[in-house]
C-alpha cells in the first residue's frame, strides 16, 4: 500500500533535477512504483512552472501585505485595550444603581426601612442616626448619576458595535 521505501529519495532527486544520476536511473529501471512517482513529479513540476509563469505578479506586494498585517495587529491591540475601559464603563453605572437602590430603600418609611436597617446592622453596617432627608437626597443624587452613566454608556457602545461589525 505504501509503495517503494526509496520513493521519497527518488522524488527529492527528480525535484532537484538529479534523476539522471546513476543510482537513481538504475533504481528507476527496476522499480515501476518509483517510475510512476518520477513521471508524475516531472509532469506536475512542468505544470507548476507554466502555471507560475501565467500567474504573474501578485495583486499586492510584500510591503502592502506587511502594512495590512501591521494595521490589523494594531487594531486588535486597540480593541483589547479599550475592552477594559468598556468593562469599567459598564461597572460604574451598575454600582451606582445598586447604591441608589439601597439608598432609596433606606429613605422609605417603615416597615421597609426597619427591615433594611435591620439587615444592614446584621451584616455590620450602621446607618443609625442618618436623617430621612439625607437618605432621600443621596438616593436622588445616586439615581441621577446612574441614569447619566447608563445613557453615556449606551450612547458610546452603539457606534462602536457598528464599527466592529464593519471590520
Amino acid at each position: 500500500m505504501n509503495g517503494c521505501p526509496r520513493e521519497a529519495a527518488i522524488l527529492r532527486a527528480v525535484r532537484a533535477g538529479a534523476d539522471g544520476d546513476l543510482s537513481v536511473s538504475e533504481h528507476l529501471e527496476s522499480c515501476s512504483s518509483c517510475r510512476e512517482t518520477a513521471s508524475l513529479a516531472r509532469r506536475l513540476g512542468a505544470l507548476a512552472l507554466s502555471e507560475r509563469a501565467q500567474l504573474g505578479e501578485p495583486q499586492v506586494n510584500a510591503t502592502q501585505v506587511w502594512w495590512k498585517a501591521y494595521l490589523r495587529r494594531r487594531r486588535s491591540r486597540t480593541d483589547e485595550a479599550t475592552g477594559a475601559l468598556r468593562i469599567a464603563e459598564l461597572a460604574v453605572p451598575l454600582a451606582l444603581t445598586v447604591v441608589a437602590g439601597v439608598a432609596a430603600l433606606l429613605a422609605m418609611p417603615t416597615p421597609w426601612q426597619q427591615a433594611v436597617r435591620g439587615l444592614l446592622e446584621e451584616t455590620g453596617a450602621t446607618v443609625a442616626g442618618a436623617p430621612g432627608w439625607a437618605l432621600a437626597l443621596s438616593a436622588a443624587a445616586a439615581l441621577a448619576l446612574a441614569g447619566t452613566s447608563a445613557w453615556a454608556l449606551l450612547h458610546r457602545l452603539r457606534p462602536r458595535a457598528e464599527t466592529t461589525r464593519k471590520s
Binding site: 509503495g3 506536475l44 502555471e51 500567474l55 501578485p58 510584500a62 495590512k68 498585517a69 475601559l85
Partner: protein
Amino acid sequence: MSLQNVLRQTTVQDAIAQPGEIMEPPAFQAFYDSTSAPLRSYLTRLAGSRTVAEDLAQEAFIRLMQASPRYESPAQLKSYLYRTATNLFTDRWRKRRREAPLDARPSEPAGDATVVDVDLERALDKLKPRDRAMVWLAYVEGLDHREIAGVFSVHERSVRVILFRARKKLASLLEKGGRS
C-alpha cells in the same frame, strides 16, 4: 477634550504594535518573495480561481505575520503558511458548498490556453480537494509526509496512504488521457 477621550488616546497610543511583534519588513520581504508564487499556484490549483487564490494567499500571509514570533525556522514558517492557506481554503469551500452544492472544484479554469498538460489538469480535477492538495504539496512543493500531516492535522501514515492512492488514481486517469 473629555477625560474619556484622553484616556482612550493614551491607550490607543500604547496599543500600537511594537517592533518585533510582527515579522520585520526585510525578513518578511525575503520570505514573501520566495513563497508567494508557489503559494498562489497551490491555491489556484485548489480553488480553481486566481482571484480567490490571491485573496486567500494574502490572508494567509497576514495571519502568518501575526503568529510569526512563535515560528522560528523558515521550514516552520512555510509549513504554517500552507496550513493556514489550506484551512482558509477549506473554510471557504465548506461555506460555498453549504450555500450552493458544487463539484469538487469551482468552475473558473486555473490556467488559460497555454496550459501545457491538459490531461494532467483534468486528472487532478478528478481528485478530492484534500488529495489534490496533498499531491501538490508532496510533488511540487516538496513537503515531506510529516510536514503534510502537519498541514492537514492528520497522522503521517494517513498521508502516505492518501498519496499512494492518489498517485495510483492519477496514473490510471493519465493512462486514459485524464478521463475517468
